[in-house]
Symmetry: C2
Subunit: 328 residues, 2 copies
């Protein structure tokens, strides 16, 4: 077993009971009397993945001593929102549909994907209104809004090589870290945990989530499709300027800068990520990004030192390590 | 002034104060610190339209004697959800993008439209969590789910000429009547109104909304683009079998049935709605649909007779009349 797989197994093991309950809730929520909807939900269930956001709700609950019967439900709601964002991420435009036709043909059309994502969002919100406190509804609706703003901002920042690192991290924070932060805050506060511990765990989740996204962007430039199980090099294709490229660009000569812009924008260019790797020495940028992700995650984990030692706390640390060690 | 415009003016006049407050809330909610998001919200604000769902929240509140300070907020939330559904309705597939290029070019790309709709949904839910009771969050999240199921079912029922009228009305109910029903129920119950009055007004809203959708489908077959301010004949283009066609098909000979199916499905056919009007005598189907809409709306209005007479009750009746008399 690889190191990162061993880490994952340890994480899951430490809240196996809660994850089992979360899974049962998710299975019940991913069903519908409409045959058409049920069929699609069945397909979507396969995207469930590692469910680390849900696991964080449970682990933070344990680590802060506040685990309640409602934690698995909160975890399921967080995972449903994540699932909805994944479904909506798959909505493509005309040009991209053509470019990624093999990928899209296996799914339904855009209109149905939009509706299915909306269904998951509204079902998650409906479930959250059944909880004993309004905190989950309130926090997750604001988080979903923040995710949308992050994604919209990201879309308008395509091909922007002059963007500051702060802006890049602001977008990554809104689109990705915010849900990790909400998961950790809810784990700590639901129900009845102190605001102070909620704030601490929110900040832990934010930094971990930001580190996660930076590594995600890193892997899109370096990863193997075989290992990742998804297309890599998509960011360059989509005009997304991620931290490694941003760093290399900021240090580059005018000629190299022009070449980078050309690789991003020249029409009909095949495999832009390969072109980029050949034309530019990305190594310094990749190292820089990895260092930043390390710093963020180490920060997050060290700020948890105020919590009593526990298996759950150590599992959260393992999630941080997993984020840094994963190659998919 | 046309009869239907006079009706609209009367409706608006009777809850002008509440509508003004709703408008202020909407304006505040359609702003965002992100310049990109603000720009898009500004564009979306133009779709606000007649805001009859929001008006119903206020009017039902008045008519059932339960108007509270929170009614304009509830009305704004209902309108934001309606706005989100409109934005997501505009998501098109590759083929349709090509077919309706003039329409789409004036907007943003699909990905951004998805995010903007999600933003509106989540902002509406976030606002609902600020209210004094959880009823609005709970009812509207379930209603949004129902709208999605209706739209997904509708999409799978395209080109289904054997569909029963019950099934057609079930889909119209889920995708359209459900939000009118929720608006009326919330108006009656928010906060502290009786469940019984809530149920009565829910049923009034459902029947009015169903009548509204049947007329909407009717106008898509008969309307003038100039008056409607939107493309008509879209349903035939999209394969949607609406009540007038369903009725004509059920009464038609095998040869006519085959011709109808051909007009819906033959590739590259220009203006299918015109072809349909020329090939088939739609009149009986249109009359049948109008009769059904009349019946539903009259039912709704007569069941309101148990409420005390009031200007608000009479304005709700005017909304019903407007639904039947409008030609756009």
């Amino acid at each position: 077993m690889s190191r990162s797989k061993a880490l994952l197994a340890e994480i899951v093991g430490s809240v196996a009971g809660g994850l089992g309950s979360m899974q049962e809730i998710l299975e019940a929520e991913l069903q519908d009397p409409s045959a058409a909807v049920a069929d699609m939900l069945d397909h979507v269930a396969r995207f469930r993945g590692k469910q680390l956001r849900g696991a964080l709700v449970l682990l933070v609950g344990e680590a802060t001593g506040k685990t309640s019967e409602e934690h698995p439900k909160v975890a399921a709601i967080v995972e449903m929102i994540h699932l909805a964002t994944l479904v909506h991420d798959d909505i493509l435009d005309g040009a991209e549909v053509r470019r990624r036709v093999a990928c899209v043909n296996q799914r339904w059309n855009n209109q149905v994907a939009v509706l299915l994502g909306d269904y998951l969002y509204s079902r998650a919100f409906a479930l959250s209104t059944e909880l004993s406190s309004g905190l989950c509804s309130s926090l997750l609706s604001r988080t979903t809004k923040q995710i949308c703003v992050g994604e919209i901002d990201q879309s308008t920042l395509r091909y922007d090589f002059e963007m500051t690192q702060e802006r890049y991290e602001g977008v990554c924070g809104a689109k990705t870290a915010s849900l990790f932060a909400a998961a950790c805050e809810l784990g700590a506060r639901y129900p009845g945990g102190s605001e102070e511990t909620g704030e601490l765990m929110r900040s832990v989740g934010w930094n971990m989530g930001l580190g996660f996204q930076i590594i995600d962007d890193y892997l899109d430039l370096t990863g193997s499709e075989e290992i990742a199980g998804k297309t890599v090099g998509v960011d360059v294709e989509d005009g997304k300027v991620t931290l490694p490229v941003l760093h290399v660009y900021s240090e580059a000569s005018d000629a190299v800068r022009e070449r980078i812009r050309e690789i991003y924008t020249q029409p009909e260019l095949e495999n832009r990520a390969d072109e980029l790797r050949q034309a530019v020495d990305l190594e310094a940028g990749l190292k820089y990004a990895r260092k930043r992700a390390n710093e963020l995650i180490e920060n997050a984990l060290s700020s948890m030192a105020v919590l009593p030692e526990s298996q759950a706390r150590s599992s959260i640390e393992s999630i941080g390590e997993f984020f840094l060690e994963r190659n998919w």
